[in-house]
Symmetry: C2
Subunit: 148 residues, 2 copies
Amino acid sequence: MESRIARLCIEKGLKMTGQRRVIARVLSDSEDHPNVEVVYSRASALDPRISIATVYRTVRLLEEHGILARRDFGGGRARYEPTEHGKHHHLIDIETGRVIEFADPEHERVLAEIAARLGFDLVSHRLELFGRRRADTVRTATAKARGR
Amino acid sequence: MESRIARLCIEKGLKMTGQRRVIARVLSDSEDHPNVEVVYSRASALDPRISIATVYRTVRLLEEHGILARRDFGGGRARYEPTEHGKHHHLIDIETGRVIEFADPEHERVLAEIAARLGFDLVSHRLELFGRRRADTVRTATAKARGR
DNA sequence: ATAGGTGCAAAGCATTTGCCGCGGT
DNA sequence: ACCGCGGCAAATGCTTTGCACCTAT
């Protein structure tokens, strides 16, 4: 059966080749924020006749069509996640590189207000927190957010 | 007379070569967020015997010593600004690339709280807004923020 | 004197692209 | 059949580095 991202591609009228279907599946199934290298190795496992150039071309295409979002968590490689994944931001554990997602709807509004005050319409924004796990951490309900 | 950044270098016990003095001066005098290429050309104008490799090495050194902050405003090149420039964030005009600085002290606290809630100490963060100038913009007191 | 800085050119790394044969629609 | 896609390797753009010489301290 078609993966969620493959279905989005079809909706947009993109040509569905074997390679794209595999890459779409990998991305649909990923629960983390893989970089191109990782997408490539996962895709290769499903179908070895895929080149990394195609992965680069495909993630770019998907990004241009608003299906994927490109992220920069430091480390010099772009990382990707499906956009239809709900509004959230990222907290990167600087010791392990682990990425934790969190939502803060109120933030959005505050940022738009700041932009408006400066005479701008907010088009997009980037917000990443870099933190160190506290030694005395008690696991709370919110801390359950799945690492990605 | 020594530039502000040159003085910081001396305080830290860094060897002050002619090239470093020139680069320090360029950075001290810059009111924008230059990338390495721009720092290089400004430095070359003051003293042509400077290589771009030295600029790369120097901004890196200054960053490691906390004198410069590296920024990423998109476009694939790192940009730099002195750290002792007050806490602020950046709004990038997506049409012109112009960078506008704004401060929002309250933000800091909110972000630290979010991190704490997730069990982390906030070490650093990244916040950039990307916006489009509003056609009907009336220039207000806050809009005077100098583009950088 | 000597540890460290500099210039140059080459290497690195992530990403893009030209070319040409191949495959979806 | 036609146009776009994919593989490969070469190109690109930013940044780093090896090496031999030079300079602050």
